[in-house]
Structure formats: C-alpha cells, structure tokens
C-alpha cells in the first residue's frame, strides 16, 4: 500500500494489532503469510486469492485519492437500551474502540475516487462485527444528506453482521432511516453505488446494501440476509455449493458484478465517471 496519507496520520487513535504482530494465516488455504507482504498485496492471499477482511481505514486508503475529509467523526452511541449481558455494552464498545482505532463501525466522509468527488462510507467488520446501530445509521444518513447538498455520488462499502442487537428496535429503525435518505437522494437523480464486502448480511444487506443503482460485490464475499448458521439451524439441509458467495449472487441476478480488490478502485472510477459524464439534456 501507499505511504500513510495525511488524513490518516491526523487521527490520534491508532488500532492495537490483535493476534500475531508479524504473521497471518490464510483462512482459505492455510498459508502462513508475512503481514507486511500481505498489506502490500492489499490483503489478498498471494497463494489462493482469498480476500482478507479489510479495516475501514485501509479500505479508504485503498480507494481515496489523497485527502479524505471525515464527517461526523466523533459520533458515539448513546446506548439507548442501557444494555448489559456478560458485560455492559459500553464496555464492549470501549474494547472495540481500542482494538480498531475507530469510534464506531463506519467511517464516512468526502474524497475523490479516481478523480471523481464522492461521498464515501466504509464499514468495519472488526468493530462489533460491523453491526448497524444508531451511529452507523446516523453517519450513513448524514453522509447521504451532505452528498445530496453537494450533488455528489455516494459510494457505500458494506461489511456487516446486520443490525446491532444491543440497540434493539432502535437499531432496526436505522434500516428505515437510511432507506429514507437513500430514497430522497435517489429522487434527486444522484447515483448510489454499493460495494458489498465480506460479510454483508442482515439489516445492512436489507437496506442500503441492496439499494445501490449499481451493486458491486467483492470477490469471494459472503452476502445474504440470514446468516449461514441460522439457516443451518432452521432448515437442516445441505446448502448449495458457493451458497451466499458473491459469485453465487451474480448468477442469481442479485449483483451487477464481482470485482477483485486490486481492480476495485479502477472499476469504481469507471462507473463514477460514466455516471458523472455530460448527460443528455434532461
């Protein structure tokens, strides 16, 4: 990857690396990989092509040209249910903040992708499994509203286990809130492009994830509404090969294309330039 951009260096909180500092095991082929090499290869296994889950900041560094102007950076959950199970929800959040260097499961802001100005939101599966609670819903909505004001396209990169249980029905309502924002944005004739990465399920796939005008899936990503475990437990029958993989969804007509990580920025740039090109007089 390129040297750390300015916007990233400005962030005061840094992630605390989990597990082995130097080595990483490929989930798909079992290969032991040197982390520094892996980062250079955009976290794609050089042996089998497996796409590792990417941290939001790494994804932004991958996609944004130069600067990234973060929005709503300091929003944090209000813990509406005052949830607590094995530990208080607030503590879980604090733990994930430390590990991830993020305040929540999404980073949103304005930047250029391959020269085109966009609103960009990137979810982070390492923060509470990328679940959507009040803050994710609010930040997606704020991003879309700001992009609407500036008449910019929006790119949302999803990675999510669904709605955040610890915020109960208020988390569920973030589907409605973000949808309302997408619908209003869409009425202005502005494009939403979604990039579904591993994994995208539940409330995020069932709201803005599948509301894109163009829907791109990252190679090998697991995408669906219900998680595999829930389906297994409910129907207890063998799942078809490749079930819920990006490629499976392409065949089933659900996504426009499946793109490898190395090509993602190029493809996004192409789509964005096409949609931004001088249009027929309306």
């Amino acid at each position: 990857m390129a040297p750390t951009p300015q916007w990233l260096r400005r962030r005061t909180v840094k992630p605390e690396p989990a597990g082995d500092v130097l080595w990483e095991i490929c989930r798909s082929c079992g290969e032991r990989l040197y982390k520094k090499d892996l980062a250079e290869k955009l976290w794609v296994c050089p042996r089998c092509g497996y796409h590792f889950r990417l941290h939001a900041l790494d994804r932004i560094a991958l996609l944004a040209d130069g600067d990234f102007q973060e929005l709503a950076a300091l929003l944090a959950t209000g813990d509406p249910l005052q949830w607590s199970d094995r530990m208080p929800y607030a503590e879980k959040i604090a733990g994930d903040r430390k590990k991830s260097g993020l305040l929540e499961a999404i980073v949103v802001g304005l930047c250029r992708i391959d020269g085109v100005r966009v609103g960009l939101g990137v979810m982070d599966f390492f923060f509470r499994g990328g679940t959507m609670g009040s803050v994710v819903g609010e930040k997606v909505t704020l991003l879309i509203e700001e992009a609407a004001r500036q008449r910019l396209p929006v790119v949302l990169v999803t990675a999510s286990g669904g709605a955040r249980m610890e915020e109960g029905v208020i988390a569920l309502m973030q589907l409605a809130k973000t949808t309302a924002a997408v619908e209003r944005f869409s009425e202005l004739g502005l494009p939403l492009i979604t990039v579904l990465t591993d994994p995208t399920t539940g409330g995020v796939s069932a709201s803005f994830g599948f509301q894109g005008d163009i829907i791109i899936a990252e190679a090998g990503a697991a995408i669906g509404f219900a998680g595999r475990r829930v389906i297994d437990q409910t129907i207890r029958q063998k799942l078809p090969e490749g079930f819920q993989s990006a490629e499976f969804l392409l065949e089933h007509g659900q996504v426009d294309m499946v793109v490898r990580r190395s090509e993602l920025k190029g493809v996004l740039g192409k789509v964005l330039r096409f949609l931004a090109a001088q249009a027929v007089p309306a």
Binding site: R11, T12, V13, L74, L75, A76, T77, P80, L81, S84, D85, K98, L103, S134, V135, E138, G161, G162, A163, M165, E167, G168, V169, I170, A171, M173, Q174, L175, A176, K177, T179, A181, V182, E183, R184, S186, E187, G202, G203, A206, S207, F208, G209, F210, F225, A226, R229, V230, I231, Q233, T234, I235, Q237, L239, P240, F243, Q244, H252, G253, Q254
Partner: protein, 324 residues
C-alpha cells in the same frame, strides 16, 4: 409450548365454572347469584395475579398466543375485502395477504402478514414468515395504492424473514430493501399496525408509515428473542434473557418514540375480546387516516422522512481520543 396457555389454565377453568353456574342459575330454581359473585371476584383477582405483571418473555408468548387475532381477522372485519394475489414475478406468497377494502367508506389497500391458525394452516402460511415474493407482492400493492391515491394500511405479525435456501437465492435482502425504499417514498398515507409479533426486517418491510399503531401486548424487535439470543450468544435457548433485554414491549417502544399509539388490550390479552380489539385497532387506524389524507403527498413524504430521521441515540464526543 406457549407459556401463556399454562398460565391462563386456572383462570379459564374458573371462568368455565362461572359460566356453568350462570346457566344453572337461569334454568334451576336455586339461586347461585352469591356464589357467582364470589367466583367472579376470585376470577378478577386471579386474572390480576396472572396478567398484572407479566415478564417480557411471557409477553412474547402472549403476542404469539394461538388464539390471538391474526391479520386476516382484522382485514376481514373491513368491508368488501378483495384479495389480490401474486408478485407478477415468481409466486404468490401466502405469508403475506394483500388486497383492497373499505374502512368505513374510505377505500384503502391493505397488506398483512398472516400466520396460520393450526399446524396445516401454519405450514401453508410458513408461520407468517414471508419469502422474497411476499415482499415483492407488497411492493406491487404499495404502488397500486400510490397510483390510485388510496391510503395503505398494514398489519405486522411475523417472527421475521424466512431463513431458507430459496429465500436467499431469490434475494430476500433485495426484496426487503426495495420494499423499504418504495414505502419511504410512497406518495399516499400509510398506517402501520403491529398486531402480534414484529420481528426484524420481515416486519419492517411493511412497517414504514406515517402513523404506527401497536397493540398493548404486541412485541416489536430487531430480531425474535430466539434469533437475537442465537446471534448474541450462539444459543437460541437464552431467548428469555434476550426478551428481557431487547425492550420489545409497546410501552417501551412508545417511550423510545418508535410507535405513535398504543391500543389497550383487555387484561389477559387480545384473544379474550377479539371483536373489541379489532374494532379499536381499526378505529385508531381510521382516525389516523382521516388526519393523514388531508396532507399533500409531498408533505406526507417529508413528514415521514423526518419521523424516521429522528430515530437514534448518539452523542458527540469531544475528541476521538475520548475513546481511550
């Protein structure tokens, strides 16, 4: 097994006894009035004891009570209901019923999630769990309501979307996401009634509206307690604990500002007086519609936007190092 059925058993027995006595009282020459009065007093006490302080888990079971009025009970109480079938794409999904009817003299379109009354019926209705084609039928009906300027009334009663192979293959994420989008921008009034169980995206798919009514003992949740427990702790067996934590009761949802109105139920639940509950629910729906039909479509959609825009709970930290 529904825990409410166990709980209400002594009460039902006592009530049967009272009914018997009353019959005797009418047909025999002996006067049982005093005994009846005493038993009725006891029944009132018992009812209070049983239902006066239900736990969230018990309330979940009350919302799932097999005799609780179902969507079609409300819809059939409207005049001139005509069912419209199919998504025009793949299949007619019996877990979602839809059509048109009159609420008083107001022509409306309706969509409801329909559970079964018995095992056979439940297999047919897939326990009220829609497939993608159900959400797509709902979208079709929403667009008809918009095209012909008729309000839309929905009835939510589902454990959630169906976690099955076909449902995933045919894109239930897309189907729910699109239903939400259509509802968000629909240029006609929508009144939503949560009448039983409101579970996850399967419920919300017909849950975006201008006025959200909830029955007192209905539940509405980000996921069914079983699913939530499975997601949170990989143990569906801890559903009772999840029910407790999820804050899924009508009074809590009203406090959160998620719902706009609660229809009170008799002590013991809606199934103890279905006719009244149905009338009250349709009455509340009608009052809401009478207000909403006066708004211009643009205003309606703008207000709906603001309504959902507000929902959330977040704070702004002073600095991102506040995380430390």
């Amino acid at each position: 097994m529904n825990v409410i059925i166990e709980l209400e058993k002594p009460l039902l027995e006592l009530e049967a006894k009272i009914a018997d006595l009353k019959k005797l009282n009418e047909t025999q020459r002996v006067d049982f009035s005093e005994e009846i009065a005493a038993l009725e007093d006891k029944a009132r006490q018992l009812k209070q004891e049983i239902f006066g302080n239900l736990t969230p888990w018990q309330r979940v079971h009350l919302a799932r009570h097999p005799r609780r009025p179902l969507a079609l009970d409300y819809i059939s109480a409207l005049s001139g209901f005509t069912e419209l079938h199919g998504d025009r794409l793949y299949r007619d999904d019996p877990a979602i019923v839809a059509g048109y009817a009159y609420l008083g003299d107001l022509p409306i379109f309706v969509i409801g999630e329909q559970k079964g009354r018995d095992t056979k019926d439940n297999l047919y209705r897939n326990f009220g769990m829609p497939h993608p084609e159900g959400y797509r039928k709902a979208q079709r009906i929403m667009r008809l309501a918009e095209k012909f300027h008729r309000p839309l009334v929905t009835f939510i009663d589902t454990p959630g979307a169906y976690p099955g192979i076909g449902a995933e293959e045919r894109g239930q994420s897309e189907a729910i996401a699109s239903a939400l989008k259509v509802a968000a921008g629909l240029r006609t009034p929508i009144v939503v009634n949560v009448i039983g169980e409101g579970g996850s995206g399967g419920a919300l798919a017909i849950g975006i509206g201008d006025h959200i009514i909830m029955l007192q003992h209905a539940i509405y949740s980000v996921a069914s307690p079983e699913a939530a427990a499975s997601i949170l702790w990989r143990d569906a067996g801890r559903a009772e604990e999840a029910a407790q934590r999820l804050r899924l009761t009508s009074d809590e949802l009203f406090e959160f500002g998620i719902i706009d109105e609660i229809v009170p139920e008799p002590l013991g639940g809606a199934h103890r007086d279905p006719e009244r509950i149905i009338a009250d629910t349709l009455g509340a729906t009608r009052r809401a519609l009478e207000r909403l039909v006066r708004l211009a479509p643009e205003e309606l959609v703008d207000r709906r936007y603001e309504k959902f825009r507000r929902i959330g709970s977040h704070v702004e930290l002073a600095h991102d190092s506040a995380a430390r």
